[in-house]
């Protein structure tokens, strides 16, 4: 590994750690410094509005809220590094336990949704690049722009109405069996598919216009193989960088989809905890999502130079100036 490569990797790693720390600090500031009285929130979550002063003090001690703010901040950070995300206000269970029990379901649906989105987006973009009819290309380009404007809670409800209630093909709610996963997966795949589709189409258009494609055409390469081999490989690269954003929007998608289809995943957990103002659970879930976001971006930054080594020199120059 060259020195430039190592320097690049080192910079990205350091950046990732800083972003993770920043997300923890921001979450802590919002959730602990903004609410006027965390004790009130805890009591309301548990439905114990009229607790005595002694009970309040005992609860405060139990949750560590009687310590100064900076101590809480440091202690929570250390605990989080060890995997301890605190205790839920509402249910008194460990936050990590709550998340762990629901993560599998959410991960399964999310990964399938992203996979479906990638397939659909590539298919659309490939068709748009391959076809010669400007009308068809215009129509295909129209699709991502329209679907980006459609809120997924509405799409989910529409799909439920059509496929569950009218046609009766698929179950509307519940979580057993693969049939219950179809509608949530399709619903959740729409925002990433729209975003990826748009980026891929732009990337393919740019690649099609580049000189080396003209050269390949001049050498007699057929359009199908041309598009497949060269345009797709080169045009996909810019779309790769939005992978982090896709993961970020998938978290929101999971919250909405699990609410619409009544699936007990992490998304539903977030919705219920926010509703109950259960701060430790919200903090734990947000931290997890932020960590996933950081890890994905880091992975993208690590893998990107393998495909396009110019980025190392480019970012080195930018950071030096």
């Amino acid at each position: 590994m060259t020195k430039a490569n190592l320097a690049y990797l080192g910079r990205r790693l350091l950046q990732a750690v800083v972003v993770l720390w920043a997300s923890y600090t921001l979450t802590f500031i919002i959730l602990h410094l903004l609410p006027s009285d965390p004790m009130q929130t805890i009591l309301q979550s548990r439905g114990q509005d009229d607790a005595s002063a002694q009970e309040i003090a005992a609860l405060a001690h139990q949750y560590g809220l009687d310590r100064p703010v900076l101590v809480q901040y440091a202690a929570m950070m250390l605990a989080a590094l060890h995997g301890d995300l605190g205790v839920s206000y509402m249910q008194g269970e460990s936050v990590s336990g709550l998340i762990a029990s629901r993560l599998g379901m959410t991960l399964g649906v999310s990964l399938l949704a992203i996979a479906l989105a990638v397939v659909v987006a590539f298919g659309l973009a490939f068709l748009a690049a391959y076809t010669r009819h400007p009308a068809l290309r215009g129509l295909l380009g129209f699709v991502p722009n329209v679907t980006i404007s459609v809120p997924i809670f509405w799409v989910g409800l529409l799909l439920m109405q059509v496929f569950s209630f009218s046609l009766g093909w698929l179950p509307a709610m519940g979580a057993d069996g693969w049939e219950t996963m179809v509608l949530p997966v399709v619903t959740m795949s729409i925002p990433p598919a729209a975003l990826l589709g748009r980026m891929l189409m732009n990337g393919f258009d740019e690649a099609l216009a580049s000189p080396f494609i003209t050269a390949a055409r001049a050498r007699g390469l057929g359009r199908g193989r041309l598009v497949l081999r060269h345009v797709v490989k080169n045009g996909s690269l810019p779309a790769f960088t939005v992978l982090g954003m896709i993961v970020g929007s998938t978290v929101t998608g999971a919250i909405v989809a699990e609410t619409v289809f009544s699936r007990q995943g992490v998304g539903m957990l977030i919705q219920q905890s926010v509703q109950a103002q259960d701060i430790p659970v919200v903090q734990g879930c947000v931290l997890l999502a932020a960590a996933a976001f950081v890890v994905i971006n880091l992975a993208v930054d690590m893998i990107y130079p393998v495909f396009d080594p110019r980025i190392i020199v480019r970012t080195a120059g930018k950071e030096r100036s």
């Binding site: 921001l26 959730l31 903004l34 404007s149 919200v282 932020a290």
Partner: protein, 302 residues
């Protein structure tokens, strides 16, 4: 303006009594341009009319419906759309169309408040960072970037957890999450303007920094920020509707598009119009705003 336009617009000798014909001509030309564009792009015209209707609903709901959105009539519950009730009635017998019209008020109000917060804070940070530069620039931009460390709508959801639910909290939460985009655009524009020669000339002639910012920087920042605001408007409306759907918006019986859809969820099987029609209005609004934004961006670039 081209040379030809400049000569035509300049007052000719003998017409000095007219009160600035060039300004009138410019205004007429702009209006003519819009009329021409709307005829040439009918999609944009339809989108414009729809958005105008939505804004009318937000400002004066009574202009679009004469019924009371809160009047319950249990005997008439869950009726399908008809001539009398354009969108049908909901589970408490309320006219769904007027609930959607009044719901536009909360949703659009929240979206405008969000955009205002994002623009005000974002432009402030961006212009100061771009103009002063150095350590101030680094600190301000790092602060703004911290807002991006929590992905997507999660930041807004976190803020709403802390400050409580309702239309204004949702607006504040989404506004804060939208600050970085505006800050970056404002800063980029400021940097671009400040490196021009005429700014140097202005500084040398003794214009105060406040004067430079007010007269030159802000005027140049306004264009891209306005384009961005139009694009973001659609996204913000969707975000407001989503948070309201998840139950973090105004409580019933208040009418808000997202919460209307959430309340109607339970009746999807039997009376699908209750959640689906308000949702369709959201879709059409966001679509119309996006079409307008795309068209105006193309026009401004010319």
């Amino acid at each position: 303006m081209s040379v030809a336009e400049t000569t035509i617009a300049a007052p000719r000798a003998g017409t000095a009594e007219l009160a600035d014909p060039s300004a009138v001509r410019r205004a007429l030309r702009r209006v003519g341009g819009w009329l021409h564009a709307s005829v040439r792009y009918p999609g944009t015209l339809i989108a414009g009319v729809f958005v105008a209707l939505v804004i009318l609903a937000a400002i004066r709901p009574a202009a679009l419906t004469r019924r009371d959105p809160y009047a319950t009539a249990p005997a008439k519950m869950l009726q399908p759309p008809s001539a009398e009730h354009w969108f049908g009635t909901d589970q408490l017998g309320r006219d769904l169309y007027s609930r959607v019209v009044y719901g536009a008020q909360s949703t659009i109000l929240a979206s405008l408040v969000s955009l205002s917060i994002a623009i005000a804070v974002g432009v402030l940070f961006g212009v100061i960072a771009g103009y002063v530069g150095g350590a101030t620039d680094a600190v301000l931009m790092r602060l703004v970037d911290v807002l991006l460390s929590i992905p997507g709508l999660l930041l807004s959801i976190t803020i709403v957890t802390a400050i409580g639910f309702g239309t204004i909290p949702v607006a504040v939460a989404i506004g804060v999450a939208s600050i970085p985009t505006f800050a970056r655009t404002a800063r980029a524009q400021t940097l671009r303007v400040c490196s021009s020669a005429y700014i140097e000339a202005a500084i040398v002639s003794g214009v105060t920094p406040a004067g430079i910012i007010a007269r030159h920087v802000l005027r140049n920042v306004f264009g891209p920020v306005f384009s961005l605001a139009l694009l973001e408007f659609g996204r913000v409306i969707m975000a407001v509707a989503t948070l309201s759907f998840l139950g973090f918006g105004a409580k019933p019986p208040a009418a808000e598009w997202g919460s209307l859809i959430n309340e109607g969820r339970s009746y999807l099987m039997t009376s699908s119009w209750v959640p689906l029609l308000p949702g369709l209005v959201v879709v059409l609004t966001v679509l119309a705003v996006t079409v307008l934004a795309a068209r105006s961006e193309k026009e401004l670039k010319r």
